[in-house]
């Protein structure tokens, strides 16, 4: 069955530390891949997306993600986390034009 898995429900990192959020998918073919961020009381904001080409994708707010076909993964990274990065992060995949599916999300807490 097609699925999107974010293995970590909650992650806590110290401000200034590096961050990696994991995302794995289970699809028959390479899907389109997305990362969204949701701050409390806000809608989702697109951080970055992968459609094809270079497997290392740069996004907004200093985030990047790497697509690894062999591992069916699309992990999100940031070298130095800021307190304002505390939020919920969602990985999403789409196979086809109208079939975007979201993971359950990872909540990020940033310690001072």
């Amino acid at each position: 069955a097609q699925s999107v898995t974010q293995p970590d429900i909650h992650i806590t990192v110290s401000e200034g530390a590096s961050l990696e959020l994991r995302c794995n998918y289970s699809y028959g073919a390479t899907p389109y891949l997305f990362w969204y961020v949701q701050s409390p009381g806000q809608g989702l904001q697109l951080l970055l997306k992968y459609f094809s080409g270079d497997t290392l994708v740069q996004g907004i707010k200093g985030f990047e993600a790497e697509f690894k076909r062999s591992q069916s993964s699309f992990n999100l990274r940031k070298p130095s986390v800021h307190w304002s990065d505390a939020a919920e992060y969602f990985c999403a995949v789409a196979l086809g034009a109208y079939d975007m599916r979201f993971g359950a999300g990872t909540r990020l807490t940033v310690k001072p």
Binding site: V4, G43, L44, L46, K49, F51, A97, F102
Partner: protein, 117 residues
């Protein structure tokens, strides 16, 4: 540029009552989406409109949920009658065009938090 507007932001109703949510997409966006986000889960697409026509409503519980997009701009999502399991945040999103082409990014509104008691 104004973002996607939704109202109300919060709503509390009793089960078996009806409720309606309103969404105003970004000007010029032809495609509009309604998502349901249950606590602890990612958003799930309920229905997608292209202008005023339905593209995909395969996950909409049609026995109680309905949605319309008259004149291809604003949209309303209705639940009648509501059940306890309908408690969720209802997100509206819009994009320039259909599908997931690289330039068809979805922009999300702040959502309506529904509590059914």
């Amino acid at each position: 540029e104004a973002g996607v507007a939704q109202s109300p932001r919060y709503k509390i109703i009793e089960k078996r009552q009806s409720v309606a949510f309103w969404c105003n997409p970004i000007s010029g966006h032809a495609t509009l989406y309604w998502y349901q986000q249950i606590l602890g889960q990612g958003p799930k697409l309920l229905i997608q409109f292209q202008n005023n026509g339905v593209v995909d409503d395969s996950q909409l519980p049609k026995d109680r949920f309905s949605a319309e997009r008259l004149k291809g701009v604003d949209s309303t999502l209705k639940i009648q009658p509501a059940k306890l399991e309908d408690s969720a945040v209802y997100l509206c999103a819009s994009s320039l065009g259909p599908g997931l082409a690289p330039n068809y990014e979805q922009y999300f509104g702040p959502g309506t938090r529904l509590t059914v008691t």
